[in-house]
Amino acid sequence: MALGGGTMTGEALIIIALLVPTIGAGLIWLTAWNPNVREATTLVTAGTLFAIVVAILGRVLNGEDLATGTWPIAPGLELGFRVEPLGMLFACVASGLWIVNSIYSIGYMRGNKEPRQTQFYMCFAIALASTIGIAFAANLFTLFLFYEVLTLSTYPLVTHKGDENAKAGGRVYLLVLLGTSTVLLLPAIIATALIAGTLDFMPGGILTGKADKATLMILLAMFMFGIGKAALMPFHRWLPAAMVAPTPVSALLHAVAVVKAGVFTVTKVVLYIFGIELLASTGANEWLIWVAAASLLLGSLVAMTKDNLKARLAYSTVSQLAYVVLGAALATSWGVIGGAMHIAMHAFGKITLFFCAGAIYTAAHKTEVSELSGLGRTMPFTFAAFLIGALSIIGLPPFGGLWSKWYLALGALQAGQIVIVAVLMISSLLNIAYLLPIPIKAFFGQASGRKSSGIKEAPLPCLIAIGLTSLGCLILFFFPDGILNLLSRIQVQ
């Protein structure tokens, strides 16, 4: 495939994929003296990373098994990477959207004259490197290391503004994410290692026949709540708190990389540590279905009460993440595919919405939903894109969001959970209720206060990025086969 990937070994490709953003971060630091060169470096790094990920994708679709050697650390602990379909999808989404997001960032950061832009781009690159590490990790230990690096590298991004508000948000962010991961996730990993004797992700799980139902339930609970990035209620507080970050951060990290790293880990744990067979046969997953459903509905309900646009989107994300957790919790093959697909579908929809929120902030300096009335007539492009993103999130044709919800519903039926199908329906209605009024009022509402004449569309790079992601939502509706093809390679047994 691309970049002469045909001659390289799989191991080399994986390592290069990890190194490119890391080295990119260094180069960004070195080129800090000239913003143009620095931003070009970011774009080139993002492009290179995506090309390599695509090359890996080509190998995976050819049926190749890509893995690195392992580096032993202590008995039962090792570092290692292996590409499997789920991680492949996650890496593609994250690295692909990084390019778009970098374009957007240039417009946003310059448009708002943000300080410390070098640090911003560097941390972004490191965050992406850890995301790739999470996506390709071959065992829980490796995944955990990159999971923590991701938390730490995004902290400076969350507190980028540097004011009291940002610091308070950053505190909650660190406290919840580090707290859950060290107090719940890490002990869960240790317990798993001791019970199973390994931490490798294996098709069908590693716990079969090694633990009774009670142990499994406790472990599952420790994992699900310990993976704080999945924002399962009641550990969702960090996500709204993180909205103090500049919008590109909210867009890529808190709609895509960080939160998806969370639900990705959830899915991986369910698939390759527990195994859906084991969960379905013991019923240890039963409670999780209901917790996810509750998180799903509550997130939407809270979102309706929020007037701040980004806060509303954040709670919407909490709710949408619960879809993925739900998909994993159903422990059926369609459920897993639906959940995994939602990682991609929601990513495109939500990043579009965040981009629009950022564009509105940059162009009109408005942050509250109630202020947007009539703004659609001065910023038609932005609000059209917002509408597309909203429709995709709701799950209406002709946008990609439809498919993931479709498969999730199939998964619920497969598991015999009719109530869950109803929950999915209600949730879609709630989505309509809190998302659609925004573009409708913007287009048809009365412009509030005096005529805001100076407002026009956001800077061009922002618009390009918005255009690309909303186009993505559309394309994903017509061509979901690619993702389905990839995900059907997930080995359940």
Partner: protein, 493 residues
Amino acid sequence: MISEHLPALQVVVPLLGAVVCAFFTRGDRAWFVALVVSLAMPFIAFGLLLKVLHGGPISYALGGWAPPFGIEYRVDILNAYVLVLVSVIGAVIMPYAKRSVEHEIEADKQAWFYTIYLLCLCGLLGIAITGDAFNAFVFMEVSSLATYALIAMGRDRRALLAAYQYLIMGTIGATFYVIGVGLLYSMTGTLNLADMANRIAGIENSRAVLAALAFLTVGISLKLALFPLHVWLPNAYAYAPSMATVFLSATATKVAVYLLLRYFFTVFGVTVIYADLPISEIFLLLSLAAMFGASIVAVFQQNVKRMLAYSSVAQIGYITLGIAIANKTGLTGGIVHLFNHALMKAALFMAIGAIFYRIGSVKIDDLAGIGKRMPMTAGAFVVAGLSLIGVPGTVGFISKWYLGLGAFQQGWWWLVMLIVLSSVISIIYVGRVVEVIWFRDVAPASRRAKDPPLSMLLPMLLLTAATIYFGFDTVLTAGIAELAAEWLLAGVR
């Protein structure tokens, strides 16, 4: 030729160095002598370690008097490891020492300070290398007397009280040790440890031998600050000059632990320790008391040096826990923690020493916001602090992993949980300091502080980097610790 005499050189060189130092009146010249001597020590230690790894234990007859009548220096895998530990720490802190000592010790006493330091180094290395029970006592007193003097040179007048208190308790400990040796001598008629081990066979359970074991255990436990015999330690570490604290926290207690291991496993033997006597149970209780009691006390300290000192008591609990777990994996954990704890605690005390160098205080309130003024130092503190907690990717995790695995192999699930729980307490006391130094506004006292000079910064960063490096590459640390544990448990005398 010279390599034959390495065991003697290991002790004689610092002794002669101390004599040379005493002739200088200028601190910087004495420092230079101490630097040269300290830098030479790791070469000798590594030379011995390599020889032992390739050719088995080395026996060196001091002065040409053949053992068991003459004093034998006996180097095996365990004490070669301890020699490397002590000499490496001794070498790394010397560049750091110069500025720190110039800042904290009056000019006319600096040469004496280095003299005493070299004597202390000589004593510690001597305890580790000698194969003679009484010779070990002499070296113990050489190092202890030097330690009392080092502590008394602290600027705070309470340093004098701490030194006096330690002198009383340390002398009682050393005297207990001599009583134990005396009883053993009267039973076996020899002072050579290897010879003693042979002759003790058959009379292990006689009352005099058991009394000797009791005296030795209590005496050495005082030196290694086993809970509840630790009361001397917090004040001593808190008020000693920074450089002395760094050195002592990293080495002194470790050497005492070594001596305990030597008596337990090679002189009395595994059967006496584990099968005939409840040593395992006693150490388990005391270790847990240390891990929890001292950690909880650490949480409430206002003086950061004192807090770290209490944390040392807790960490010693982990080391002795390795003895209590009584299997190879657990013992490996204890032994590897000797090294790992030395690295992280030295780095932490160096960081706090550097802060003292700049702002003249180690009270937690005065440290507010220091991270913004001394980012490298505060960063090193955070990384080493993470290691103290035992976050994966740091040395602290490796030690705890082995301990946990060892406990699990014994079927002690509850102990695994307690290890995790005690780590949570360390999150609190480390987190508290991190919170203050990074997230508070800069305190007035530290407005103009900045990172210390390179001579202080580099050793600190070197050790901090080592806490990460040895968190991944465990061949040298855990590998050798495992060999040593295997050797000890095999009962080879």
